[in-house]
Symmetry: C2
Subunit: 389 residues, 2 copies
C-alpha cells in the first residue's frame, strides 16, 4: 500500500451562489486545486466526485462523467467516479481517491465534492435531505433532520445535564471562527442570546443551532507520498483514512447520544495512524447541528461522554484552546453544501498545517483530524493528516 499526500487544495466561496451552476462550482474548486498543486490538468488520471443528491437538486446524475467532461478531461478519458453517502459524500470521495492512489491504480487524483442546493425551493431541499435517513422507517413518518438531531439533543440534555447555552456556545464559537474565513457563508459573530432567541426549528434546536443550506465545492489533489515533494514543498500526508457504518435509523441504536459509526471510524483511524486523541492538535468535525459537534467531541475521544457541552462552554475547543474544533467555522458558519463538506474539512486542515489559514491559524499545529457524518450517523469518515509523513 502506497502512502498518499495532498499536494493541492481548492475551495469556492460557500453560500447562496445563484450565479453558479453545479458544474461551474466543481470545476472552479478543481482548477484552483490544480493551480495550487502547480500541475497541468493533463497529469490528472482520476477524479472522484462527492455529491449527495444531484438527481433531486439539479435533475442530474452521472456526475463523474459530467465533471470530467466540463473540466476538459473527457478527451483524456480519465476515470471519473461519483461517490454518495449523504452528507458524508465528500469524505468518502476523498477516501476513495486515497485508496485509488494507495493501490497503484491511479497516480494523480482529484477528490472533490460539490452540492448545488439553492436551485430548488426549501421544501424540496428538506425533502431531498430526508433521503439521507431511512425512508421506510423515518422519512415516511415525517422525520426531518432537525427533528432527528433534536431527539439526540433532548436525551443528551436529560442524561448529562447539557444546557441550551452549551449548545449555543458551539454556534457562537463557530461563527467567531467563520468571521475569520473569507470563504464562509456566515462571517458574522453571534451571541448566546441571539441563538437562544432565534426561531425554534425542532425543540431544543433553534435555527442558529442548525447548519444552513449552501452551494459550494471543494477539491484536493492527491499524489503518492514518495513523489509529493516533486510538486510542492509542503505536502500534507494522509496518516489515516477510516470509514464505518452505523444503523441508518436512529431508533435502532442502543444509545442515540453516541454515533457508534463515529466511534468505530475514529478508533480505526487512530490505530492506522498509531495515534490517540491526545495527539490530535485540532479537528474539523461534522457540526450539522450544535449537538452533533458535542457528540463528536465525545465520540472521537477528545472529552468523556457527556462532557462535550461543558468543554465547549469552557473555551477548550476555541482557537487557542486545548483542542480547537472547526477553525473553518464548521458546517454551522462556513456552510454545508452536503457533498462538499467532507472535502472542505480536509482543505482547512491543509491550510492550517501549511500555516496559510490567516487570522484563524492554529499556531504550531502538526496533526489535524477530519470527521464527516452521513445522515444521523449511518456513515462516518475520519481522516488524520500530518505535516510529517
Amino acid at each position: 500500500m502506497r502512502d498518499v499526500a495532498i499536494i493541492g487544495v481548492g475551495c469556492t466561496e460557500f453560500g447562496e451562489l445563484w450565479e453558479k451552476s453545479f458544474r461551474e462550482l466543481f470545476v472552479e474548486a478543481g482548477v484552483s486545486a490544480i493551480q495550487d498543486a502547480n500541475i497541468q490538468g493533463g497529469k490528472i488520471d482520476a477524479l472522484f466526485v462527492g455529491n449527495m443528491s444531484g438527481g433531486r437538486f439539479i435533475e442530474q446524475e452521472h456526475l463523474g462523467a459530467l465533471i470530467a467532461d466540463y473540466s476538459g478531461l473527457a478527451s483524456l478519458h480519465i476515470a471519473s467516479t461519483r461517490v454518495e453517502a449523504a452528507c458524508a459524500s465528500g469524505g468518502l470521495a476523498l477516501r476513495q481517491g486515497i485508496i485509488a492512489v494507495a493501490s497503484g491504480y491511479h497516480d494523480i487524483v482529484i477528490a472533490g465534492g460539490a452540492e448545488k442546493m439553492t436551485d430548488v425551493d426549501v421544501e424540496t431541499t428538506t425533502h431531498a435531505l430526508t433521503a439521507a435517513a431511512d425512508r421506510e422507517w423515518e422519512g415516511v413518518m415525517g422525520a426531518t433532520f432537525p427533528g432527528l438531531y433534536a431527539m439526540i439533543a433532548r436525551l443528551h440534555m436529560h442524561r448529562y445535564g447539557t444546557t441550551q447555552e452549551q449548545l449555543a456556545s458551539v454556534a457562537v464559537k463557530n461563527h467567531h471562527n467563520g468571521s475569520m474565513n473569507p470563504k464562509a457563508q456566515f462571517q458574522n459573530e453571534i451571541s448566546i442570546d441571539a441563538v437562544l432567541n432565534s426561531i425554534m426549528v425542532a425543540d431544543p434546536l433553534h435555527v442558529f443551532d442548525c447548519s444552513p443550506i449552501t452551494d459550494g465545492a471543494a477539491a484536493v489533489v492527491l499524489a503518492p507520498a514518495d513523489v509529493a515533494k516533486k510538486y510542492t514543498d509542503t505536502p500534507i500526508y494522509v496518516k489515516a483514512s477510516a470509514q464505518a457504518s452505523g444503523t441508518l435509523s436512529l431508533h435502532d441504536r442502543p444509545d442515540i447520544t453516541t454515533l457508534d459509526a463515529t466511534v468505530a471510524a475514529g478508533n480505526r483511524a487512530y490505530r492506522m495512524a498509531g495515534l490517540s486523541p491526545k495527539d490530535i492538535d485540532f479537528a474539523e468535525v461534522h457540526d450539522c447541528f450544535t449537538i452533533a459537534e458535542i457528540c463528536a467531541l465525545e465520540d472521537l475521544g477528545f472529552v468523556k461522554k457527556g462532557e462535550g457541552g461543558k468543554a465547549t462552554e469552557s473555551g477548550m475547543t476555541a482557537i487557542g484552546g486545548e483542542i480547537p474544533i472547526n477553525p473553518s467555522g464548521g458546517l454551522k458558519a462556513c456552510g454545508h453544501p452536503v457533498g462538499a463538506t467532507g472535502v472542505k474539512q480536509a482543505v482547512e486542515i491543509v491550510l492550517q498545517l501549511r500555516g496559510e489559514a490567516g487570522k484563524r491559524e492554529i499556531a504550531g499545529a502538526e496533526i489535524g483530524l477530519t470527521h464527516n457524518v452521513g445522515g444521523s450517523g449511518g456513515t462516518a469518515v475520519v481522516h488524520i493528516f500530518g505535516r510529517e509523513r
Copy 2:
C-alpha cells in the same frame, strides 16, 4: 498492488418485482453471493453499492449505509459506499471494490448493484433516466435515451449500411440466450419479424430494440487472489479493471457511432491484462439498445468499425460462434436494472468460467470480458476475468 479474485456470486431474478423492495433485492443478491463463497457475513469488511437513482426511484439516498444496516452488518460498522455512474454504476462499484482489495485497505469485499425501477410510473422512470445525459444540453431539450441511441443507429445505418434486420438480429440472439437463463426478465424467443413489427419508439429503434425497465440486484464477493483458494476451488481472477470517461453529451463527440470511452477503457483493459481482443473467449457487453451492442463489438475490437451488424447477422456472436456476446441474454432479454447490470455481467462471466451456466454454457471458455456503459458513453468500464491467474 494485490491481485484480486471473485470467490462468490449472487443474483436475484430480474423483472417487475412488485413484492420486493430495493433493500430486499440487494440483500438477497448479497446473501446468495456470501453463501456461494461459503463464508460468514462477519468476514466482510467493506461493501460497495452500485445504484443510479435511488433518490428519484425510491426517495432514498445514503444507500451504502442502508444496505450495511439492512444486511445486519452495521453492528460490525463495515465500510459501505455507494457508487454512481448512471447505467455503469454497477461496473464502477465492482471496480471500486477491486481497487479496495488491491490496495490492502480491505480484504473481503462485497461489490453489488441494485435498482428498483418499477415503484414509479413510466414517465418518472424515463425522466429519471434522462439524468444520465447532460441535463443542460440534452435533457432540457427533450432528448431521451431511445432518442439519443436512435441518432447513433441512424448514422451507423447511413455510414456503414447497417440494416434494421441486423439491429433486430441482436435482439433475436439475446432473447434466444435469455430463454436459457432462469433469472432473465424475458425468457421467450422472438423473431426478426416480431422486432420489425413492434412499436417504433425512436426511429429506427423499435420497442424490441430497447432493453426493458427492470428491478433486480447482483453481487460478487472479492478477495485477495493469494487467499482465494482458501474459500473456493474455483476462484475467478480479475485480469484487468479499466474505466474511462467520454463527453456526457452526444453532440460533443467527433463521431457518434464510436463510444470513445469504450475504446479507451477497452485498450486500457487489454494492456493491463496483456491480452488482445482475439484472446477473449466471450463477452457481456452493454446492449441497452441493439445498436449499442453493434457499436460495442466494434469499439472493443472484436470486429472492424462498421461490421458489427453483419457480424451479428452471420451468427459470429451467438453461443457457439467465434465470439459469443451476451450469453446471459444481455440487457435486452435479461433486463436492465441500471445499477445492477455491471455486476450481473460479472456474475455471468463467473458462472460461465466455472462451467455453471447450464444450457447457455460456452464450452471451454477461459477468458471473459464485461463492458458496462453509463449514459450514451460518458462512462465505460471494462473488466477481463480468467480461470487462471
